[in-house]
């Protein structure tokens, strides 16, 4: 890392912050109503929203994490990206359009549509905030490690300061720009990230005369320990029966979690119609798919050109594979650009998560539970959302500083597992199962949430292993790091059993309204014309 220049890295990042702040301030001029603030006036086009979804979804974990995992573990790193991509078909086929037609701002709108409002909204808000908070914490904690790598800041104090700066910027974006400003930040970031990765990919492929086989061969040659195993599965998860089962569990959580991530679902409300929601998913699938193909080349490229030993010796270990490759290819300037893109990535993702969690509090809890719907769409709803954003921002700065240096992989796994267990079954039942009722919804949300969190607490990710959060205690009664293989079927079952056991009948008129609205778009929230 001798050639890396922290001042250059910070300057490039500073330019990004200035440009995005300018855009956010411009975008905020027309933000007046709750629909403006929480759903960007529903005025984005499908392609714009699709790019923003890619920006929201491709976190630092998918960029640095997957490239690094492929560089060190070869094929097993590639498996992640496939789960992350295929998951989008669930969103496209089963969720996006129907959700857009029935909801307004939050996941709770859809889940509570034909149920008793207050208990279901409270449950939906709880799970929205749980998922967003775990995801947020992982991103903030990840920022600390990234700083060590890219800016050469290794002291705890310096890293904490950077986490605080990231948090403060995120609060500023969300307060000033609302959903519209946040969306533009996502769009700018997605374009930079995909373009940056694309240029590096072409560069690497060019060095091997666009022959993927020679690139793979070079990666194998440069990895004496792994050797040929780099190209086949099993290097990371093939150790024994438990790790194999763990991988299966992770694969399930990845493919079923995406369509239950509240910050992704909320993006569908920023477009005017269900048809635009469909177009946005199509754009997102192409962009995300192409990006993951880039990371395959970048990961093996880092293995071939930088080598696993050099990556392992760098401060961020696996996470440093992509930045080290940038340095190898284009020197300090390319490293600076990629470092700035990685920062921008964290910033954009945390902003998206913050607005989602604050929207859920303001809309589900404040406007609909505390004020019983009387304050819906009033200025006070926006005010509450803004205050919540500040609180969430401050809490995540604090949490990020505490979690800095901890094993953050389990926080992301937790977010996906909760989304797949508590949210997805409830969404699918509400949309497709006529008989589903309030009791079933509460059972699947709270049941999924409780089972997932309990299994994670009892997992080796939290205790009993050298890599655990608590190294010195051992209460790991559950052998798998990811609970999906148990918690997802259990949550589906709970939703079913809760419905069957309850004497309450589903409201047939509300069910008719929801089904007709979800399929036809009649009565759906329209775009705001300024």
């Amino acid at each position: 890392m001798n050639e890396s220049s922290p001042i250059l890295n910070i300057s490039i990042f500073g330019v990004f912050v200035l440009i995005t702040l300018f855009v956010v301030i411009r975008a905020s001029r027309n933000t007046k109503t709750a629909a403006d603030y929480l759903a960007a006036g529903r005025a984005f086009t499908g392609p714009q929203n699709g790019i923003a979804i890619a920006g929201d979804y491709l976190s630092a974990a998918s960029f640095l994490g997957i490239a690094g995992a492929i560089a060190l573990n070869g094929y097993d790193g590639f498996l992640y990206s496939i789960g992350f991509l295929v998951a989008w078909l669930v969103a496209l086929l089963l969720v996006a359009e129907l959700l857009r037609n029935t909801g307004k701002y939050t996941m709770g709108d859809v889940l509570s549509f034909r149920m008793r409002q207050r208990p279901v909204r409270a449950a939906a808000a709880t799970s929205t905030m749980a998922v967003s908070f775990f995801y947020l914490l992982a991103q903030m904690a990840g920022a600390g490690g990234l700083v060590a790598l890219l800016l050469g800041i290794t002291g705890t104090g310096g890293q904490s300061l950077v986490i605080a700066v990231v948090g403060a910027l995120m609060i500023a974006y969300v307060l000033i720009g609302g959903m519209k400003g946040t969306t533009w930040v996502q769009i700018i970031k997605a374009v930079l990230l995909i373009a940056g990765a694309g240029i590096m990919t072409l560069w690497v492929l060019g060095m091997y005369k666009f022959n993927l086989s020679s690139l793979l061969g070079a990666a194998v040659e440069n990895a004496p320990k792994a050797g040929e195993k780099l190209l086949g599965p099993g290097l990371a998860y093939g150790k024994n029966g438990t790790t194999k089962l763990d991988f299966l569990s992770l694969a399930l959580a990845l493919v079923l979690g995406t369509a239950g991530l509240p910050h992704i679902l909320m993006r569908f409300y920023t477009v005017p119609t269900a048809k635009e929601a469909r177009r946005s998913v199509v754009w997102a699938i192409w962009l995300i798919g192409i990006f993951y193909l880039f990371t395959l080349v970048l990961g093996y490229g880092a293995g071939a050109l930088v080598g696993p030993d050099a990556i392992n010796k760098a401060p961020g270990k696996a996470n440093s594979a992509a930045p080290l490759l940038a340095l190898e290819l284009g020197g300090p300037i390319l490293l600076g650009l990629i470092a700035a893109v990685a920062f921008a990535t964290i910033l954009a993702v945390v902003a998206g998560l913050t607005i989602t969690a604050s929207a859920s509090f303001a809309h589900d809890i404040y406007a609909n539970i505390i004020k019983k719907g009387k304050e819906e769409d009033k200025d006070s709803e926006v005010k509450v959302a803004r205050i919540t954003a500040i609180v969430i921002g401050l809490v995540s700065i604090g949490g990020g500083i505490i979690a800095n240096g901890q094993n953050i992989a389990f926080l992301v796994a937790l977010a996906f597992a909760v989304a797949a267990s508590a949210n997805l079954p409830t969404i699918l039942y509400s949309l497709f199962w006529k008989r589903f009722n309030t009791s079933g919804a509460l059972w699947s949300i709270y049941g999924g949430l409780i089972v997932t969190i309990t299994l994670i607490v009892l997992s080796p990710a939290v205790s009993g292993q050298p890599t655990s959060m608590f190294k010195n205690a051992d209460f790991a009664l559950f052998p798998l790091s990811n609970p999906g293989i148990v918690s997802i079927p259990v949550a589906f079952l709970l939703g079913y059993v809760g419905t069957i056991l309850s004497k309450e009948k589903a409201d047939p008129v509300k069910q008719a309204e929801m089904e007709v609205r979800s399929l036809t778009g009649a009565g759906a929230e329209k775009a705001i014309a300024h």
């Binding site: 496209l92 793979l216 061969g217 190209l231 991988f247 694969a251 493919v255």
Partner: protein
């Protein structure tokens, strides 16, 4: 000033109208066309994904078999997951544009009463 073109309370039909539409032939047809596509295709891609994950997890030898140069079965299967995702996306959009949207628009026009 911002103006909302329609609010649900202005243009939303009364409760009976939802029930009537739900019972109509056009709506049954729309629902059938949607489910006939999305349910089997979802089952198919999830099964194909699961097969891939199980092979990668439990059939290391097979997945490591080299096909062309250093490119092995595992890499080809992995890339095929990308291809199938792109293909299903394209097929669904064609199905929705051709078979779902016209019917949905017709029903929406009837419900909202503005012929849109």
């Amino acid at each position: 000033m911002s103006t909302v073109e329609h609010t649900p309370s202005e243009s939303a039909p009364d409760a009976q109208k939802w029930v009537d539409v739900q019972a109509s032939d056009d709506f049954a047809q729309l629902k059938h066309r949607l489910r006939k596509f999305v349910f089997p295709v979802s089952g198919l891609f999830l099964a194909w994904y699961l097969l891939y994950v199980l092979l990668a997890d439990y059939a290391h030898g097979f997945m490591s078999t080299k096909v062309i140069g250093n490119i092995n079965v595992g890499l080809i299967f992995g890339l095929l997951q990308f291809v199938s995702t792109f293909v299903i996306t394209t097929l669904y959009v064609r199905h929705a544009n051709k078979h779902l949207d016209p019917l949905a628009e017709k029903l929406r026009g009837e419900l909202e009463g503005d012929g849109k």
